[in-house]
C-alpha cells in the first residue's frame, strides 16, 4: 500500500482492511449473513451474468472466483486438459461441499466448456436454482438484442419460479440503480488512481473490486464511498520515476499474484482491463427504459469482449487505445492457461500492440501463484521500461 500522509494512514488502512477481510473470509461471512438475514445467495459463474435480476429478487448474487486449495474431485468429472483452472476450482468447491450454502447457481456460456461444467454441476449439486444462459455470440445482427433479452427473461422467469414471486419492474429498476451507483463509485476510484498513480497499490484496488463481487452492493457502495472520501483528500505527490503500466485479461478470475509482483517491483498500474477490474464495472445500464431491454442493451453495447463477436480487432483497438490515452509505458496481458477465447484473440492483440510500438508482455497463469520464471519475466519487463 502506498500511503502518503502519516496521520491519515491508520484510518484508511482500516477501510482497506474491511475490503481485504470481505475477500478473505468469504464463505464464513456469507454463511453468517445468510443465517442472520434469512436471504438466499446465488453463485454467478463468471462472466456476463446480469446480477441485477438476482438482486431484484431479494437474493444476493456473488461471483464464483475459484479457490487456492487442492483440486481432487473435479478432475474426475472434468478433463483438466480442456478446462481452465477457474472451471476446475469452482467445480471442486461444488463437489467438496464448500458451496452447499448456495441456493442457486447461474452460468452464461462464455466459452465452450461452461455448458459441460453446468451439466456436471447439475448432476452433483443440490442447488434448487440451476440456470444456464445460452447467449448469442454474434452481436452485430438486428436480432441480437432481442435474443439477449429473451435469455434475460428466461433467467428472470426461472428465479421467479424458484421464489414463487414475481420480480417487479420497479424492483429491477431499483437494482439497476444500485449497480450503476457501484459502477460510478468504482469508476471514481479508477479515475483517482489514474490522476494520482501510486495512491493505491494494484493489490489494494483488486481487493476493493473483489469485495464488491462477494458482498451486498449496498454495503460495498458505502465502503467505497468512505474510501473515496479519504483518498480524495490525500495529497499525493506524483512521481515520474515509476514505470506505468496497463494490465489486461485474466478472464473469469483474479491475477493477484501478478499484481503483487508488479507492486513489489515499484511499477504503477494506471488503468486495467481485467475481469476483476474495469471489465466488471465499466458500462452503465440505462435507467430510463424497460429494465430487461436496458440490461440487454448494456450487454450488447458493453466494452469489447472475447465472449462477444463484433469485429476481430475491437478488443485489440480498445486495449491499445487505453495504453496510448493513458501514456502508459507498456502493457502486461495475463492469460489463463487453456482459456481458448483469450488465446484466439491474443495474436490480433499482439499484432496491434507490436505495430503500434507498444511494449507488451504476456504472462500465462494457471492457478493463484506465479512461477519464478514469470516473476523474472515481469521484473525484467518493468526494468526494461524503467532502469535501462
Amino acid at each position: 500500500m502506498h500511503l502518503i500522509v502519516p496521520g491519515e494512514k491508520l484510518f484508511m488502512e482500516e477501510t482497506l482492511k474491511r475490503f481485504i477481510a470481505a475477500k478473505q473470509s468469504l464463505y464464513d461471512n456469507l454463511k453468517q449473513w445468510k443465517k442472520a438475514s434469512g436471504k438466499k445467495i446465488v453463485g454467478c459463474h463468471p462472466m456476463d451474468i446480469p446480477e441485477e435480476i438476482v438482486h431484484a429478487a431479494g437474493m444476493l448474487p456473488i461471483t464464483l472466483m475459484g479457490f487456492d486449495g487442492a483440486i481432487t474431485h473435479a478432475t474426475r468429472s472434468l478433463q483438466p486438459t480442456i478446462a481452465c483452472n477457474i472451471l476446475l476450482e469452482n467445480l471442486e468447491m461444488c463437489l467438496n461441499g464448500t458451496l452447499d450454502f448456495l441456493d442457486g447457481v447461474i452460468f452464461a456460456d462464455v466459452c465452450d466448456t461452461i455448458p459441460i461444467l453446468s451439466d456436471i454441476w447439475l448432476r452433483h449439486s443440490h442447488h434448487v436454482l440451476h440456470h444456464l444462459m445460452v447467449m448469442p455470440k454474434h452481436l452485430n445482427s438486428p436480432s441480437s438484442r432481442r435474443r439477449v433479452s429473451e435469455q434475460f427473461l428466461r433467467l428472470k422467469a426461472a428465479i421467479e419460479k424458484q421464489n414463487n414471486k414475481k420480480i417487479s419492474d420497479r424492483a429491477l429498476k431499483h437494482s439497476i440503480g444500485v449497480y450503476n451507483q457501484n459502477r460510478r463509485l468504482l469508476k471514481r476510484l479508477y479515475d483517482l488512481r489514474l490522476c494520482k498513480p501510486g495512491l493505491l497499490s494494484a493489490s489494494d484496488v483488486s481487493a476493493v473490486v473483489t469485495a464488491g463481487m462477494l458482498m451486498r452492493k449496498e454495503d460495498h457502495n458505502q465502503l467505497v464511498e468512505q474510501l473515496l472520501l479519504e483518498l480524495e483528500n490525500l495529497p499525493v505527490p506524483t512521481s515520474d520515476m515509476h514505470v506505468k503500466l496497463i494490465v489486461s485479461g485474466s478472464l473469469c478470475g483474479h491475477c493477484d499474484s501478478v499484481l503483487s509482483v508488479i507492486d513489489a517491483q515499484g511499477a504503477y498500474i494506471l488503468e486495467d482491463d481485467l475481469y476483476i477490474g474495469s471489465r466488471y464495472f465499466t458500462s452503465l445500464t440505462n435507467e430510463d427504459i424497460d429494465p430487461i431491454e436496458a440490461l440487454a442493451q448494456r450487454y450488447v453495447d458493453d466494452i469489447p469482449s472475447p465472449t462477444k463477436f463484433f469485429d476481430a480487432n475491437a478488443w485489440a483497438n480498445y486495449i491499445s487505445n487505453m495504453v496510448i490515452r493513458d501514456k502508459a509505458d507498456g502493457i502486461i496481458i495475463v492469460m489463463r492457461k487453456l482459456c481458448e477465447i483469450h488465446a484466439d484473440d491474443f495474436p490480433c492483440i499482439q499484432n496491434k500492440l507490436n505495430n503500434g510500438g507498444i511494449p507488451c508482455l504476456m504472462i500465462e497463469i494457471e492457478r493463484a501463484g506465479v512461477s519464478e520464471q514469470d516473476k523474472t519475466r515481469i521484473q525484467a519487463f518493468i526494468d526494461m521500461l524503467g532502469v535501462q
Binding site: 519464478e372 520464471q373 525484467a380
Partner: protein
C-alpha cells in the same frame, strides 16, 4: 578511485563481483544454500577481504537474481536479465544475442549496442532442459559437471532422450545405464536434448549474431558445442560465464552513481 559491488543470488549458485571504476577486480561464487541472506553476507565478506576494503569503501551495491530481496546491504535490485545484458555488453559490446543457460531456466536475450535489452524469452515454468536437468543426469552417471562435459564430447552416438524433464529424464537415464549404453552417449544425448530445447525457445525470438552464452551451462563445453550445432551459429564464450549477471549489477551500480 571508486568501487562498486554486484551480487547475484541465483537458485543454485550465488555470485558477487567488485569493480573498480570500470574494471572487474574480483569475484566470488558460492552455492546458494537455503539461507540466501547468509550467503549474500558471506560473499560480501570474501569480496571485501580480497581487496582489503570495508563496506564503507563501496560506493553502491546492486543485487539481482531470484534471491535479490535477501541482499540487505544493496542499494537496489535490478532484474537478472537486465544485469546479464549490461555485464555482457561491458565485455563484448558487439554481442546482440545472449543465451543464458542457468540452473532453473534458460533465457534468450536480445540487446543493442548500449547493452539495453530489446527483447527476451524465458523457458517454461519448470526446470526442463535447464542446468538442473543436466545436474540430475550427471548424478545418475556418478560424474561431476566437468567430467560430464568432457564425456559428452567423446560420444560418437548420442542417445535420444524423449524428455527434457529432470524427473522423467532421470528414470530414462537409469534405464539407458541398465541397457549398458556408454556414459558418453548418455551425456551427449542430454546435451543434445537441452540444445533442442534452447533451439525451440529461439523460435520465439529472432536471434541476431554475434551470439554468446553464459550461466552455469556455458561451463559445459559439450552443451556449448551442441547449441552451436543445433542453431548453426558460433558462440562467443566469456571467461567467467557464471559471473555476467553480478558483473552487470556492479556496472549498473557504477552507471547510476555517475
Amino acid at each position: 578511485m571508486t568501487w562498486y559491488m554486484g551480487i547475484d543470488i541465483g537458485s543454485a549458485f550465488s555470485k558477487g563481483m567488485i569493480v573498480k571504476d570500470t574494471e572487474p577486480v574480483c569475484f566470488h561464487i558460492l552455492r546458494s544454500g537455503i539461507n540466501y541472506r547468509t550467503t549474500a553476507n558471506l560473499i560480501r565478506q570474501e569480496l571485501l577481504s580480497r581487496v582489503n576494503l570495508s563496506q564503507n569503501d563501496i560506493s553502491d551495491t546492486v543485487a539481482t537474481g531470484s534471491g535479490a530481496n535477501n541482499v540487505d546491504f544493496a542499494g537496489r535490485k535490478v532484474s537478472d536479465i537486465i544485469c546479464t545484458a549490461r555485464g555482457m555488453n561491458s565485455l563484448y559490446p558487439q554481442v546482440r544475442t545472449i543465451i543464458d543457460a542457468a540452473g532453473q531456466s534458460t533465457k534468450l536475450i536480445l540487446i543493442d549496442s548500449h547493452g539495453r535489452v530489446t527483447s527476451f524469452v524465458v523457458s517454461e515454468k519448470c526446470a526442463a532442459g535447464s542446468g538442473w536437468f543436466i545436474e540430475v543426469i550427471a548424478n545418475v552417471l556418478r560424474v561431476d559437471l566437468n567430467e560430464f562435459s568432457q564425456l559428452s564430447r567423446l560420444s560418437k552416438n548420442p542417445v535420444a532422450f524423449s524428455t527434457s524433464c529432470a524427473v522423467f529424464g532421470e528414470s530414462e537415464a537409469i534405464s539407458r545405464v541398465a541397457e549398458g549404453i556408454p556414459k558418453e552417449d548418455i551425456a551427449a544425448g542430454v546435451n543434445k536434448t537441452t540444445a533442442n530445447k534452447i533451439s525451440s525457445l529461439s523460435k520465439k525470438i529472432s536471434l541476431e549474431e554475434p551470439c554468446t552464452t553464459c550461466g552455469g551451462g556455458a561451463l559445459n563445453t559439450g552443451l556449448v558445442q551442441a547449441i552451436e550445432l543445433e542453431l548453426k551459429i558460433k558462440l562467443l564464450l566469456p571467461p567467467q560465464p557464471q559471473t555476467l549477471s553480478c558483473l552487470g549489477a556492479a556496472v549498473i551500480a557504477r552507471t547510476s552513481s555517475s
